[in-house]
Amino acid sequence: MNPFSSGTCLRDMIRAIRACKTAAEERAVMLGYPTHFGQMECLKLIASAGFPEKRIGYLGLMLLLDERQEVLMLVTNSLKQDLNHSNQYIVGLALCALGNICSAEMARDLAPEVERLLQFRDPNIRKKAALCSIRIIKKVPALAENFINCAASLLKEKHHGVLITGVQLCADLCKVSSEALEYFRKKCTEGLVRTLRDIVNSPYSPEYDISGITDPYLHIRLLKLLRILGQGDADASDRMTDILAQVATKTESNKNAGNAILYECVETIMSIEDDGGLRVLAINILGKFLSNRDNNIRYVALNMLMRATTLDAQAVQRHRATILDCVKDSDASIRKRALDLLYLLVNDNNVKHLIKELIEYLEVSDQEFKGDLTAKICSLVEKFSSEKIWYIDQMLKVLSEAGNFVKDEVWHALIVVISNASDLHGYTIRALYRAFLTSTEQETLVRVAVWCIGEYGDMLVNNVGMLDIEDPITVTECDAVDAVEVAIKRHTSDLTTKAMALIALLKLSSRFPSYSERIKGIIVQNKGNVVLELQQRSIEFNHILQKHPKFRSALVERMPVLDEATFSGRRAGSLPTAISTSSGAPSNHPNGIAKPATAPIPDFLDLSSDDVPAPSSSGGDFLQDLLGVDLSPTPAPSGADMPPKASTDVLLDLLSIGMPLPVQTGLSASDILSSSQDDKAPFVNFNGLASLSSLSANATSPANAAPMMDLLDGRGPGPQKSEENGQAYPSLVAYESSSLRVMFNFSKQRGSPQTTLIQATFTNLSSNVYNDFLFQAAVPKFLQLHLDPASSNTLPASGDGSITQNLKVTNSQHGKKSLVMRVRIAYKTNNKDVLEERQINNFPQNL
């Protein structure tokens, strides 16, 4: 070929490629269009002989391709040749590309080359090879052993570039392979300490100096590696204490480089086994950091202090005041960190003071921060409430300030506590009334106030149970009814508040008989309300007021004390207690089971006829029964996709309630009563289970509850079967569509908690027979799966029969990771092939 033309060609091509690179790069980076046309050009460039082409080609490769693309495989051969090239810059290019984007297969292919290059004569190549090896061992951990010896020899280098990359390689080797960790710990700790000492004591060197410190990067890498080696090993930790002390005291901290080294040093001190002298030094450094004006330093200090609290809480307590100031800082990142840290520091001594400060800050804080702050305050108050009266006070303050940010479980808990603190009822209701008058825009406060006024209205009016600290206040019956009326009439009140207000009015009509008429008038106004819930309530209550005056007082007697123990037990199981604090007329149940209007009355007759307070377990059951379902119409998140978080105890609890409930009522119950009790309990079970599988506090919406109910009806023996296994793993609907249902029943093998036996049952929900039914499953690497042959491969229509298949899953990360499985179901129906694939994430967590 004419060299002249090839010369121009080459130059033009280079220019064209450069232009193309611009366009490609622009598009690839800025607009994200596919860039396939550029990829083949890059491959051609890489394969060509000249350095400039290769340079551009590799750049294009790194920009346009990543490890997931198959085209990358084509480059492997070119890379291999370039790694053996005589021109060291080309070798460098190849190592760079390999280190940035290689895939696992390429890593396996080219690892021997890279190993060889770790001992190349040119230090620049050695350092690139070291970093490239890091990527290789991350992609293919099995190859780590090959690199241990080479890496150890890199630690003795003098060239700083090779040294820092070598240290980094050793650090990553230790993370990947415990064999490497042992090796380095035994052989290299001394050497590393010596290197660190040399670099700390080294004189000024213009090439590596940064703000007066020679090569801070090397300092930091060495400290990191020492940390990895010293963690958990007293011997190695001993050898490092001197040098750590030296670094901690000698390093200047007026520039960022020095602070970076000090930070790393403190991290190392915190992680290794140490007697305490060094720890004190470390915490002092952190204290100095905290009072630094630079935001970065303070952020970093707060971070570290969180780790330090686990080791030495006392020392960190001394800095409490500074941390409190940081909560009020203008920087959002610092505020968040400080709040998290403060949360860890709270103990019985300082809780009152801290809560006071936090609540004061709540008033002036930003909206975004309020949510966080409120949640933390509420959980602290609950954890440390020694006296009920303090708890109630603080919660009222929080509700008045930021009631809208308070979660449902929190105000439910408040109500439980209030009902339990019988001597404080009068005080509480008066305080609530005062708060209600001033802050009506806080929805939660309104709800709690309305409930309390309903329950304890008579105490409010008659000033029952005045404590010494209270100011006298006169509230007439009229005022009380006014307050509730305001709650109903306000256009910003939502459904729950209005519903609760209606119940409260019903209760008040019994407690203040003279106001019956007026209350009836208010209730009647809602008879035509658009919302079904309110309409139903107002009609029924009106009915009660008019036609059943005798029942009325029995109906709305003071509620029995809500059982705190069961309640907190349930909450601890992270089960959102879907409570509506109506004394639930069960016709509110959204499960579509219609109950005659007289049905509620036997329940309450039952309550009032048993004069003794119900025993605690059935008190809990009544908690479940009465406090039915949250009325909020928000749809639940798709429960099936979220992994459940409940502990086994909670599951047991639910299942055990589900079983003996009919016995506990102790009544020669009418059929309605027992069936309604029965229906409620399993319903509640599924409510619980459904909410197990959704992490938010939203209860399942009415619509979702119905199919859940059907599921249980359709498979009665479900909960019992899992109980028989002696382990409470509920059956799981792994997959449900309009045409197919897959159920998993779990059991454990005796003596091997890691192995779970799953019996999968497939039911055909359509009206066509499925033939050639095939079920396949795949699991991630930490699980092992064994599939037994299925019982048959024909699935009769409309649930007439089912196919069962046994699976055995062994979880090597038992307790740490829960099961996850991808299933594929194939069958023939109506002469059509159907293929369904699904990922199942909602296995119970401790399988």
Partner: protein, 161 residues
């Protein structure tokens, strides 16, 4: 390790991206959009670290450009600030008082320099002098190759006359 490096202008235009962890094209655009929104709106006095998706992003503003590097939770943020500064100083030494315009017109050179500084998300060379020397050596290789092709051309052109 450093998961990716982004250079974003004050107006939100992306000047350079380098990815050391696998992100698909779609994910990359999403990441860039999210981080631009997060970082460009931060005030000047705030700290240089942002928590994002369980990772930490360290950013520093130089004139009209934001240099962002995304790291793991357990990495040393102050060191990353030093690495960012290291990169800027090398760019400065190479271009002579570098400005955003230099990076726009010579983005490929910015990539070459970054490749001499970081591989696989880790620092490669702490000495600015060495990095500059290496890049200069490679540039001169490119120059000589160009010289050679043009000189052959001339010779042949002469001979063909």
């Amino acid at each position: 390790m450093i998961h990716f490096v982004l250079l974003i202008s004050r107006q939100g235009k992306v000047r350079l991206t380098k990815w050391y962890s696998p992100y698909s094209q779609k994910e990359r655009t999403k990441v860039i959009r999210e981080l631009s929104g997060l970082i460009l709106t931060r005030g000047p006095k705030l700290c240089n670290f942002v928590e994002w998706r369980g990772l930490r992003v360290v950013y520093k503003r130089y004139a009209s450009l934001y240099f962002c590097m995304c790291i793991d939770e357990d990495d040393n943020e102050l060191e990353i600030l030093e690495i960012i500064h290291h990169y800027v100083e090398v760019l400065d030494r190479y271009f002579g008082s570098v400005c955003e315009l230099d990076l726009i017109y010579n983005f490929h050179k910015a990539y070459f320099i970054l490749d001499e500084l970081l591989i696989a998300g880790e620092l490669q060379e702490p000495s600015k002098r060495t990095v500059a020397r290496l890049v200069a050596a490679q540039d001169s290789l490119v120059e000589t190759a160009k010289e050679q092709t043009s000189s052959i051309t001339n010779i042949i052109a002469q001979a063909a006359k």
